[in-house]
Symmetry: C2
Subunit: 223 residues, 2 copies
């Protein structure tokens, strides 16, 4: 059942920064463009960046069947972490410097998606996650491409959210120090699209290229 902490996902260090409600977790997973996937091979941990998409209580990622990460992930314990950086927190003391961020950690056993219908839905979700509606415009995978793509599913059963927001928290005796303190907000933005040189010049520029921030992009996704 979702929404509960497990011994592995209990946020121990600063409990007030942790949460397990599915709504907050889903929203962060949907907002992030990439995640970091951790897996173990010969007792060595590996962490690779990858793109993902969520459908209900399942998170999907994909890649080449030749990918070590993907091959290892099917059936194995993995950790998928999604992090968005929101700002630098500048305190009056070096010790209390921090960052504002939101991060979700998902633990679980991944499985290779072998059902063709589920696999196609996952691929559509991954393409549309980045550019809502793109799946209906691009050429869909042919059988060869479909076979050459490995899709892995991870249930969202064991997940935790950790966040920090707001101003710095300084020691009382430091408050009068003459040093700037506060937050420098950070944000991922899109720059003007760069058309492929080989493209026909009168091609329609799709609306999803005009997003300026993930939050606005998300409202499109909800349609």
């Amino acid at each position: 059942m979702r929404g509960k902490a497990t011994p592995r996902t209990t946020v121990r260090r600063v409990p007030g920064r942790g949460a397990h409600d599915p709504e907050s977790i889903d929203a962060l997973i949907d907002e992030a463009l990439i995640c970091h996937l951790g897996f173990t091979e010969d007792s060595v941990p590996y962490v690779i960046p990858t793109i993902h998409a969520r459908l209900g209580d399942t998170i999907y990622f994909h890649g080449s069947p030749a990918s070590r990460a993907l091959r290892r992930s099917g059936g194995a314990e993995v950790c998928l972490t999604v992090t968005l950086l929101d700002g630098l927190v500048l305190a009056r003391s070096a010790f209390h410097h921090s960052m504002n961020y939101r991060s979700v950690m998902v633990l679980g056993r991944a499985r290779e998606v072998t059902d063709a219908e589920e696999k196609l839905c996952a691929l559509r979700a991954i393409v549309n996650h980045v550019c809502p509606g793109r799946w209906d415009e691009a050429r869909r995978p042919n059988l060869k491409e479909f076979t050459k793509t490995l899709v892995v599913a991870l249930p969202l059963e064991e997940a935790s959210l950790k966040t920090r927001s707001g101003p710095p928290v300084d020691e009382d005796q430091d408050l009068a120090r003459d040093v700037w303190a506060g937050v420098l907000p950070l944000e991922m933005v899109a720059r003007p699209p760069v058309p492929d040189d080989l493209m026909m010049t009168d091609t329609h520029v799709p609306d999803y290229l005009h997003w300026t921030r993930p939050a606005e992009r998300l409202s499109d996704l909800a349609d």
Copy 2:
């Protein structure tokens, strides 16, 4: 010796996207504000976001001595991955969609930093990595704070860089399709600083709050 591929860091899938030269690896580590640290506990991989700094051929990260990640990292095999997302790559076919990115993966055995001088240098590097010069303005750690901070070092001996850049690569037979193709560049930017309510109003606003992109910030770091 740095700059060589090992069996663990050879980029196998798309060899043209891989590199091992220390200059490129160092530049990416320096540009990134956070990284993802992978470690293993009871055969389960964990991935957590953390901030870092590089000094020469060593990468440092820090946290509370109570942190599970930090406690586990000292003396253990870890994987530290740094990823910067540069753009969305929109191809004419769903299959050839991609992202432009730069990512460094560092493998190795981490060690807790116990030498006080090295620990202080690492903490200074971590603070200055995010805001160049900040260490000289903020109050430095007192003995209690210094003791309450665990610093871990990871040698940069075994590291690989993986990148994708440039336009989409489509199948020839898809080039004439009437669908927008190209790159949507993405960039992390800083918004106007938000001063702490408790700060004195005439406090000097430091130059490092005016950065607009990591590349410009980096030139400051080189001073």
